[in-house]
Amino acid sequence: MATVSRRDFLKLTAIGAGAIGVSELGFDMAHAYEVRQQLRIAGATESHSICPYCAVGCSLIAYTRKNADGSTALLQIEGDPDSPVNEGRLCPKGATAMELANSNRRVEQPKYRAPGASDWQTVSWDFVLDKVAQHIKDSRDRTFVTKDHDGKVVNRCDGIAFAGGAAFSNEEGYFASKVLRSLGLVYLEQQARV
């Protein structure tokens, strides 16, 4: 049996108004107190969030904890039973929303597979941005249509289509559509549903 120090005794007395180590109604608290000392308890915060994956917009409860270094750890995500949208349910995709933040299999650097190559190589962000920009410019130059069959001015780019990802925020979607329309794209689509 662990020894209970004087300071611990003072704590114990604060629990019930009664005698040392005894609860208000007279239960012996020593054993419960010992177990309490072995317990490792941590606080978490629950926050409301919305599943990013589709237009249903299911409500989530996200459990987070502040780490000692000030960062926030995401512990768990589940459906919010109080939401009229999903009443606590999530589809299999939304149920893994936590992986979006936490998966250790998440690819964190850009990968490039050259034409005809069978392997991916890790490349820099600058390399990728230049590559994508160059492809966009080439395709646009090659396929740009200034006038249609009737001779009407259209100035459109038929050679590129764009599909937005399901995890886009409103702002990202707005930005993408503005940039791409400014290039003359007309085939814009958004994966806004499962």
Binding site: K11, V22, L25, G26, A32, L39, T45, Y63, G79
Partner: protein, 297 residues
């Protein structure tokens, strides 16, 4: 909303079964649960009798004094902790009981021993009367108060889930008549605070932890859990894996929450009584329970 007599009778069996189970699994609660088990017999008898007698709401207190109190008193003296027994014997006068019970129903401050005896004796009668008990007790109904009798929430629980990707509703259970009612998860059951930053959830570490197979979705109790020892706490694992402390920094109160999805054998009212170390922890955090339970914790 008629609940069959068999289903309700089963409640007492469940309580007794769980008290026995936890007494062995959680030795720190053996004294409390041993006494609770002895009291359950007297309470169930009172409940059965009251279901047959159906006292009028206005007569509940006098009915309890005559028909219930003696057995509850006797069970307490026989099995209760000596401090409780002593103060009960010192304070006890039959004539006093009715005013104590009345004060308890009105939500007035009482001494721990008075609160105990009022609750131990009157609550089985209220539970037997069901919604008819609603005419008793003062104060608001619904929301943070029992929709039937206006009592405060003793505990909160998450129902067991019927589907793996479904997070079930939270319920509160009444301190007086054991009615449960649905209540928003992320809201303080004492003051209605709903700002996340003011609400703290405390769990034993390892219950939901990122990195090591965190629960992405709610665990469903396996069918086997309901009929075997499978869900008894395994040595080394979190003891209170299916429980948590829901604290509120705005009103400095807490309530214990039992997750029936996390343990199919749990019986909220019993697990709440037995989780003494969690109560000790909550008190260290400067939190006070919304209302003390039957055993004064």
């Amino acid at each position: 909303m008629a609940i069959s007599a068999a289903a309700v009778a089963n409640r007492w069996t469940q309580r007794r079964r769980r008290a026995q189970e936890l007494r062995e699994a959680w030795p720190f609660s053996a004294e409390v649960l041993g006494f609770y088990g002895a009291l359950l017999d007297a309470q169930e008898a009172a409940w059965s009798q009251a279901r047959m007698d159906v006292p009028a709401p206005a007569d509940v207190i006098s009915y309890t004094r005559v028909r219930v109190l003696p057995a509850i008193f006797e069970a307490t003296v026989r099995s209760g902790p000596s401090k409780l027994v002593q103060s009960l014997l010192e304070r006890y006068e039959v004539a006093d009981f009715e005013s104590i019970a009345k004060a308890w129903l009105d939500g007035n401050e009482l001494l721990p021993v008075e609160r105990y005896i009022a609750r131990a004796a009157v609550s089985p009668v209220l539970e037997a009367l069901g919604t008819a008990a609603g005419a008793l007790g003062s104060g608001p109904r619904g929301g943070r108060h029992c929709p039937s009798c206006g009592g405060r929430p003793q505990l909160s629980y998450f129902a067991a889930s019927s589907e793996e990707l479904l997070t079930p509703q939270r319920y509160l259970e009444c301190e007086r008549c054991a009615t449960s009612w649905p209540y928003t998860r992320m809201t303080c059951a004492a003051c209605g605070e709903s700002r996340s930053m003011q609400l703290a959830v405390f769990t034993e570490e390892g219950v939901a932890q990122a990195g090591r197979g965190a629960r992405v979705v709610r665990r469903q109790p396996a069918a086997a859990d309901l009929g075997s020892e499978a869900a008894a706490p395994e040595p080394g694992s979190a003891r209170f894996a299916h429980m948590r402390i829901d604290g509120c920094r705005s009103c400095s109160t807490y309530v214990l929450t039992v997750d029936l999805g996390g343990n199919g054998r749990a019986v909220p009212v019993v697990d709440e009584l037995a989780a003494l170390p969690l109560d000790l922890y909550a008190k260290e955090q400067g939190l006070r329970k919304i209302t003390p339970n039957l055993m004064g914790f």
